[in-house]
């Protein structure tokens, strides 16, 4: 599967962007698909991988029938490499891996299977891999989120969605800490800090780190390092009111104040009719309505993500 457009990236292994969100129905799939098309339109070779197992419908958003090959064939070893499950899409540079029949296998994959999948994802011969994660904050979802170069959370301007997003951020953060402690040996300090939870009233990651710093400064600094490298992104979707546009920056501030975690606000997407209309036309919005506010928002989000990379390296 080769492209006519030359690979301009210096890095042979693809950048991975994972799109999640604590809640179902927040627009993860639509945003993933349109972000991928926006990248593909810029000449980047992309694969979108549907890991939304409860309701895999990425193919519908891309306007194609569910392909014969899927992730399931890879997990059950019917094919040897993940690349063989890639299907073309109507969009140049954009490929698709269906997850629709992989529900059983991936709902509870063995550790080795998950590691193998992540390994294969990072060795795909493309520039970008976009993962459409399922709802919820199960360990598997968190692991895919954490394995990505950029983790992206979609939030609606609703109390439940915001609450879920915070829950996801916290869960991902603790998961990351736990994985890190296997390497740095700070597990004991964390466990001790968590045991003293009631006595010391630990509620936030920042408080946890402060507590570990007291118990074991070295371990505390290792944790601080982990915090620095944890920078999830958020997108506020279906913004309706002017206040909704402030939600992203408000959440950045609140995460900093309350968790001691830096998150990045990628921007907001206003609610619009172009989405419904595009699905009816069996096209993606950025393709069907290139000058809509939705499309402009997606392009801006992609720009922010690309700039974020430049800023961080």
């Amino acid at each position: 599967m080769t492209s006519l457009i030359p690979d301009t990236s210096d890095n042979p292994s693809p950048r991975i962007w994972a799109v999640g969100g604590g809640k179902g129905g927040v627009g993860k799939t639509v945003i993933t698909a349109n972000t991928a098309i926006s990248l593909a339109q810029q000449g980047k070779r992309c694969v979108v991988l549907d890991l939304d197992l409860g309701g895999a419908n990425l193919h519908t958003v891309l306007g194609i029938p569910d392909p014969d090959r899927s992730l399931s064939d890879f997990l059950s070893r019917d094919v040897n490499s993940l690349a063989e499950t890639m299907s073309p899409t109507p969009y140049p540079n954009l490929y698709f891996i269906s997850g629709s029949r992989a529900i059983l296998e991936i709902a509870n994959p063995k550790f080795s299977q998950k590691e193998k999948l992540i390994r294969h994802i990072t060795s795909l011969d493309v520039d970008y891999v976009l993962l459409d994660l399922g709802a919820g904050s199960a360990f598997n979802t968190l692991d895919f989120f954490l394995s990505a170069d950029e983790g992206i959370l979609v939030v609606l301007p609703e109390p439940t969605s915001v609450e879920n997003a915070y829950h996801f951020i916290k869960a991902a953060f603790y998961r990351k800490l736990k994985k890190a402690t296997r390497r740095t040996g700070v597990a004991e300090a964390i466990d001790r800090a968590m045991e003293e939870k009631v006595a010391r009233g630990i509620q936030s990651p920042r408080a946890l780190i402060n507590n570990v710093l007291q118990i074991n400064p070295e371990a505390g600094h290792a944790l601080e390092e982990e915090v620095r490298s944890f920078k999830p992104n958020i997108i506020v979707n279906q913004a309706r009111r002017h206040d909704d546009h402030e939600l992203g920056t408000d959440m950045v501030q609140a995460c900093q104040d309350y968790f001691g975690i830096n998150i990045r606000n990628l921007g907001h997407i206003d609610e619009s009719d172009s989405l419904r209309e595009a699905v009816r036309l069996r096209k993606a919005v950025v393709d069907a309505f290139p000058v809509s506010s939705f499309t402009r928002a997606i392009h801006s989000i992609v720009r922010n993500l690309l700039e974020a990379r430049e800023g961080s390296t």
Binding site: E158, P159, V162, Y166, L247, M251, Q253, A254, Y258
Partner: protein, 175 residues
């Protein structure tokens, strides 16, 4: 005041140490709104007590920062420093006395309800006072106390003469 504490205050409001009074006020409003009771971004993060504590911290940080900024300026502009009593009531051009109260209150990030809680004057009266809806105001004997409390809570430099000025307004209007 230790510089350490002050730098914490600036951090609290996410402000640069060179911030102007206007920037400080804007940051203060932003943080107050972010941690107010109905805030979407923080509502699920904290208990009522933690929220109150946070709001108090913000309040104190802003007060300290305002003092520092005021001390650097020839004309004190900070709302929360009644000791600077020499400052005349800075009416803006063409601004009515009620509108001034309202602006002052909003500058402090206070809702009518906040003021009502502190003054024990009902929000409807506070609103009438701000809007100078004279026919709906209580008898002057009560009104005097209401306006005085209002002015005190807003930290106006001279609540007494402000209140006198407000009551004169009534005379002018012949109510």
């Amino acid at each position: 005041m230790s510089t350490d504490m002050l730098s914490k205050d600036y951090k609290m409001l996410d402000l640069d140490q060179k911030a102007t009074a206007k920037e400080a006020r804007r940051a203060y409003h932003r943080m107050k709104a972010l941690y107010s009771e109905g805030s979407l971004a923080t509502y699920s993060l904290m208990t009522a007590e933690q929220r109150d504590e946070m709001l108090n911290d913000i309040e104190r940080a802003y007060m300290r920062i305002s003092r520092v900024i005021d001390s650097q300026l020839p004309t004190p502009e900070s709302p929360v420093s009644p000791e600077d009593a020499e400052a005349p009531v800075p009416h803006e051009q063409g601004e009515s006395i009620g509108a001034y109260l309202k602006r002052r209150r909003e500058d402090l990030g206070l809702t009518l309800r906040d003021v009502a809680a502190k003054t024990r004057v009902r929000t409807t009266y506070l609103e009438h006072i701000e809007n100078e809806r004279l026919s709906d105001l209580p008898a002057p004997v009560y009104l005097r106390g209401f306006v005085l409390e209002f002015a005190r809570v807003l930290g106006l430099p001279d609540p007494e003469s402000f209140t006198a000025g407000y009551l004169e307004l009534l005379d002018e209007e012949d109510v």
